[in-house]
């Protein structure tokens, strides 16, 4: 039971940076823009968060710096892809590479000192409940904030007029434009929201999860987040489930190695990917379920006509 509880808690925490980044990208893609630069924006967030932390600023300001850094990085993509209408794939990849380089530059000199991490909350009474307390009430505030953001994104997309406009733009920017929505402006806002969320996900890595700075410390999580959006078939709830599945399988395979399971470690390490693909194949059997929420204009530049 102890083992299950600790694995459960580890999964929730491991999934948190993925949830932030993937929820952000979901909103971006719902507006019809494909930003492949999540990895770069996460790294920018991670580096600027650490930079602000070592500048002696309080943790909340460090997080704000990370969010701003992610949003600023995404703005670069926005200018290229939305204003100058360059190819979104190329602009996104450029952002991924650019963010990696910039973050390495910003982080110079921070690698030899540990970061004072954001501590898990200790709620009176609730945290002390056996099992339940450990499973649900002993996380750092950002874990709960990820769930708040899940609620906000779901509510925004499906319960507000602006969300409807955003989805309409993702489906058919021409129609949305014709009835008076400012497609480019709304796409800019979506892209910046995605950047801010990626920056926050990056800061979660460098300030909470593994509280230190190393170059390239996201180690591919930006790409996993990108894949999670496809995996989710563009639905917020499935983003969360996908992140848990991936995180849980990673924890499970490490556990398998540690107890000396008689399976080669190479195979165990591939398990999270295999499991994710297996689930994706199962979901994809229902064609309608996969395509229902797909933003039709995804990746296509928009030129206002007339």
């Amino acid at each position: 039971m102890d083992l299950f509880v600790s694995m459960f808690a580890a999964t929730i925490i491991a999934a948190t940076p993925l949830i932030f980044a993937a929820l952000g990208e979901l909103v971006v893609e719902k507006s019809g823009v494909l930003n492949l630069g999540i990895e770069g924006m996460m790294l920018a967030g991670a580096a600027f968060g650490v930079w602000a932390h070592f500048a002696g600023l309080p943790m909340i300001v460090a997080l704000a710096a990370a969010i701003l850094a992610g949003a600023a990085a995404s703005l670069l993509f926005g200018v290229l892809a939305l204003t100058f209408m360059t190819n979104q794939y190329a602009a996104g990849l450029a952002l991924a590479i650019f963010g990696t380089g910039v973050s390495a530059f910003i982080g110079r000199g921070f690698g030899s000192t540990p970061v004072e991490a954001i501590k898990p909350m200790n709620l009176p009474w609730l945290s002390d409940i056996p099992i339940i307390g450990e499973m649900f009430f002993r996380y750092d505030p950002l874990v709960y904030f990820a769930f708040v953001m899940f609620g906000v994104v779901s509510w925004f997309l499906y319960r507000t007029k602006s969300g409807l406009a955003l989805r309409a733009i993702g489906e058919s920017p021409d129609s949305a434009h014709a009835i008076g929505f400012e497609v480019i402006r709304i796409r800019y806002l979506a892209v910046m929201f995605g950047g801010a969320m990626a920056g926050l996900g990056g800061a979660y890595l460098s300030l909470v999860y593994t509280p230190l700075w190393v170059e390239n410390m996201t180690a591919g999580r930006g790409w996993i987040a990108l894949a999670l959006v496809v995996f989710s078939a563009w639905r917020p709830m499935r983003v969360i489930l996908g992140a848990w599945l991936f995180g849980g399988m990673t924890i499970l395979q490490l556990q398998g190695q540690a107890i000396g399971l008689s399976v080669p470690s190479e195979f165990l390490s591939a398990l999270p990917y295999l499991a994710t693909i297996a689930v994706l194949v199962l979901i994809s059997r229902n064609r309608q379920a996969m395509t229902l929420d797909f933003p039709v204009s995804l990746g296509k530049p928009f030129r206002p006509k007339g």
Binding site: D2, L3, S6, A10, A14, P17, A104, G109, F110, G111, S112, T113, P114, L205, Y209, T210, P211, L212, V214, E215, N216, M217, A219, G220, R221, T250, I251, L254, Q255, Q257, A258, I259, G260, L261, S262, V263, P264, S265, E266, F267, S269
Partner: protein
């Protein structure tokens, strides 16, 4: 890139002639000229870790040669296809000595070296050496053995944990030696192993460390390029062993020691030899005796007795009195691999693909 002028071509011809006169030894052509050195790093120079330790080695060349050495550093070259271009460029632009610092630089260096017979190439972690391509590598397992002796003393659960990148001999060997060191104190100690199957992933490393601690391991040795393992162990109140650089700052007071890498002797010697015209390609495998593998300061909380035991092991390995893989050595399945009174051969260590008795984990 600079375009070759007629003067450059004449100069190149003259130096080639001179070098041919020196029995084909790749020496610098004129003693008055600066020694030109090119270095290729696999990652940016961070504040700790593998590339940092190499950069410290390069620094010692600067200290010794001062104005007489011109050093070009190119970092973040991992992929072989990039590396080949970089090595050709460094050799082509007249560097007398070129260092590659990663296993992945091997194939490109082997391709480039024969085309530039005047240039001395030195490859860290290399396995193949050519007429003008030397290789050097550290005996990491000597370091983990010493750390293992300290771990054997402090482990209360008699379980230690090891995190490695990939199940390759350079990592399996040190994992085995860590346990051998610990078992020299307490024969019942076991070691759980997790391979990340990634060279670099701090997040996964954190989960691996937590998993090992959840399994009851109270000493964690993380042979990866970040301090995450040390940090997680410290947070959980477990002891830790650092690798490459001293990681005490991350250990929350529980950093036992680190086996660190000091490449300075290799770098300085190669520069001296090339400058003096005596460089020949050689294969070097260096450990505690050569001070290439070093043991960083022990944790101040350790008792004198523990430190003395570890230091004895360090001295005995350096002097050759103690061998980490001395018989009788059994593998995981209980089969005797090395008879009593013998030691595992060099080829046996460099190609080790099995776990010693007491290791918990599976090799592919």
């Amino acid at each position: 890139m600079k375009r070759a002028t007629r003067r450059d071509i004449l100069k190149a011809g003259a130096s080639a002639g001179l070098a041919a006169g020196l029995a084909g030894l790749p020496a610098i052509s004129q003693a008055s000229e600066k020694l030109k050195i090119g270095v290729v790093y696999v990652s940016p120079v961070s504040d700790i870790g593998w590339t940092k330790q190499h950069s410290l080695g390069v620094e010692t060349i600067k200290t010794e040669f001062g104005e007489n050495a011109e050093i070009t550093v190119i970092d973040n070259i991992f992929r072989p296809q990039d590396a080949e271009r970089v090595f050709r460029e460094l050799a082509g632009s007249g560097n007398d000595l070129v260092f590659g610092t990663s296993f992945s630089h091997g194939t490109p260096m082997q391709k480039v070296a024969p085309r530039f017979p005047q240039t001395a190439f030195e490859h860290c972690s290399g396995i193949k050496h050519l007429k003008n391509l030397g290789t050097f590598e550290a005996k990491y397992f000597e370091g983990t053995y010493v750390a293992g002796v300290a771990a054997g003393h402090v482990s209360k659960s008699a379980k230690i944990g090891f995190i490695g990148g990939f199940p390759i001999p350079d990592i399996v060997g040190p994992a085995n030696a860590l346990l051998r060191g610990a078992q020299s104190v307490n024969p019942d100690i076991t070691c759980n192993v997790i391979f990340l199957n990634s060279w670099f992933d701090p997040g996964k490393e954190k989960e691996a460390a937590k998993t090992l601690i959840a399994q009851g391991c109270d000493v964690i040795c993380s042979m990866t390029d970040t301090a995450t393992g040390v940090q997680v162990a410290g947070e959980s109140g477990a002891w830790s062993i650092g690798y490459a650089s001293d990681m005490a700052a991350f250990g929350n007071g529980k950093h036992l020691t680190a086996f660190t890498l000091n490449w300075a002797p290799v770098y300085v010697q190669a520069a001296r030899d090339v400058a003096g015209g005596t460089w020949t390609s050689s294969e070097r495998w260096l450990g505690l005796a050569d001070e290439v593998v070093q043991i960083s300061p022990y944790n101040a909380d350790l008792s004198d007795e523990v430190v003395a035991a570890a230091e004895t092991a360090r001295r005995d390995i350096a002097s050759g009195a103690l061998h980490p893989f001395a018989g009788e050595l059994r593998d995981q399945g209980g089969t005797v691999r090395v008879e009593a009174g013998q030691v595992l051969s060099v080829a046996g260590i460099r190609g080790i693909d099995w776990f010693v008795e007491g290791m918990i984990g599976k090799l592919g």
